[in-house]
Amino acid sequence: MPILTDKRIQKGLSILENFQDSKLLTHLNSCVHCGLCAETCLYYLTFKDPRFIPAQKVDFISSIYKRYCTFIGRNVPFLVNARDLNEENLKEMVDLFFGACTMCGRCTLHCSIGVDIAYLVRTGRVMLAEMGLIPSSIQSTVDAAINTGNNMGITTEEFTDTIQWLEDDLKDDLNDPNASIPLNEKGKKILYTLNPREPKFFPLSISAMAKIFHVAGESWTLSTEMYDVTNYGFFTGSRGEASTIVQHLYDEMKNLGSQELILAECGHGSRAFRWEGPNYLHKNFDFTVKTSVELMADYLREGRIKVNKKSLKQRVTLHDPCNLVRNGGVIQEQRFILDQIADDFVEMTPHGIDNYCCGGGGGQLAMSEYNERRMKIGGKKAEQIRNTGAQIVVTPCHNCVDQLLQINSYYKLDVQIKTLAEVVADALIV
């Protein structure tokens, strides 16, 4: 832990002292410590550790607020358990806010009062970021994104090569020499983004989307300069770095002159650009921002693509990514798509906006120091999947895919994990 100077502490406290609006003030003052949120949280459900109760996380940040920003907390701190911002408390804060919360927001939905607990945890991360206390593992992901243009540090040459062989495959697959994966083409209607996991580990999901674009007759392009949909700055709480990443994508959109930015299947990436991006940059975007899930649903509704109805015969279930669904409002589109393709579709219990996080959210996949916890909290998702009896789990999020693949192996589920684009591409009538 870096040396705690007064200046550093003051930077953290400034987040709690300067309210931009009434939201933070409201949520800092609303928790009544009923503790009824405990069972909504994967961490508490798994470990039964009282430290992990969401209300404890709320108490941590609000007690610091009370200590430094309220009359009672300054003068009678024991009355409200007002905490000092010292080394011991900061250590605990890092562990709770980075290592014991995916910011999935399930507790928020079920809170008896309506405290936005995930928002408070995120605010806590912003404080820690201001004080230079971001875990180095997740910070390195952000650094890679800023320094190389993508969070995996893939070189342009490597990326271009991958796209080239994918394009060759696509031509063969479609038996069409005109099939292509356009790169850096100006004036195309759509600029499509990717999760860097795709070119690195799951290139077939790029082919899947390219096939869909081809069949839909879409005008689209990828960019070699900035294609990364992810934004781990959103998770670290570093507003400056999150803004830089959003700005890169915004600039590339302007550079290529596209009208629509289509965000690949990535829960947090879509949230970070679509919902938080304009606020990071303090401006309205003058182009359409949409997720690929919504785009595929639109294609189907408009008849631009057709699929073999009920062609997927194995039992299918759907995992709802928290940032896309509960925090992003994309809820029915993926169900509309699967309803057409899957012959035997089963929902998890619970699902939709009430879903459980897979355990990989909130940047957990990028923080190796919490791997053991992450796999353990994934047990709830494993149980949900097992209960459906499904053979295929579809999820419109590459981050979730990664965690679900690991859960699949760790809990011996013996299921296939697929993105929505892969399922659609397989069922496409060409």
Partner: protein
């Protein structure tokens, strides 16, 4: 005017002024500015936050904890009735004896609920770890308020005014100020989920 009535009026004025200050501060700070393009209906989201979003069948904090939830509802109803009765008492409004009897019985039940919640907080390890003195004081004050109201309806005593004054003086400082912040929290939740098209649920 007796000294305890003066104390009560002063406490009430202080409490109202402080609550007004909290409310004013929230209103003055306003809504978060949001540059993203909404995909839902904010008004409907806020309405849902105060209605369907609080449906106990949809909240694990309610349906997984039905005894506590029920006790909490009765306890809050008891507080509401006690406040109404406080106004009646302050302005010497007389209630029919049957109403007095029913309210006495209800306040006895709601006080027991309050005491039950307090005992749970003391006994349950996870809850005890979450609690601070403010949690205990707040509960004690409100439970006593309900109990003394029930007593006062049948046997008027100056102790009532002293207890109510203590409650009024303490309310704006501790967690009891959620009387204001609860509504603000529901508002912000409705705003957030409504803006993004999450609330009201689409199916």
């Amino acid at each position: 005017m007796s000294w305890y009535l003066v104390l009560t009026f002063v406490s009430l004025a202080f409490c109202l002024a402080m609550c007004a200050y909290h409310a004013y501060r929230l209103i003055a700070l306003g809504n978060p500015s949001d540059f993203s393009k909404p995909s839902g209906n904010v008004g409907a989201g806020i309405k849902y936050s105060y209605t369907g979003g609080m449906d106990p069948r949809k909240k694990e904090s309610a349906f997984l904890h039905l005894p506590t939830y029920t006790a909490g509802i009765l306890y809050h109803l008891g507080t509401f009735f006690s406040i109404v009765l406080f106004v009646c008492i302050l302005f010497s409004l007389r209630l029919p004896s049957v109403v007095t009897m029913l309210l006495t019985a209800f306040l006895a039940v709601s006080s027991i609920c309050g005491a039950g919640i307090l005992i749970k907080r003391i006994v349950k390890n996870t809850l005890r770890k979450l609690s601070n003195p403010d949690d205990y004081i707040s509960n004690l004050l409100v439970t006593s308020f309900q109990l003394i109201t029930a007593v006062y309806l049948n046997f008027p005593t100056p102790v009532y005014y002293i207890l109510v004054s203590a409650l009024l003086l303490y309310l704006p400082a501790g967690k009891l100020k959620h009387v204001i912040y609860f509504f603000a929290a529901r508002y912000h939740l409705g705003l957030f989920f409504g803006y993004r098209g999450v609330w009201p649920p689409k199916n």
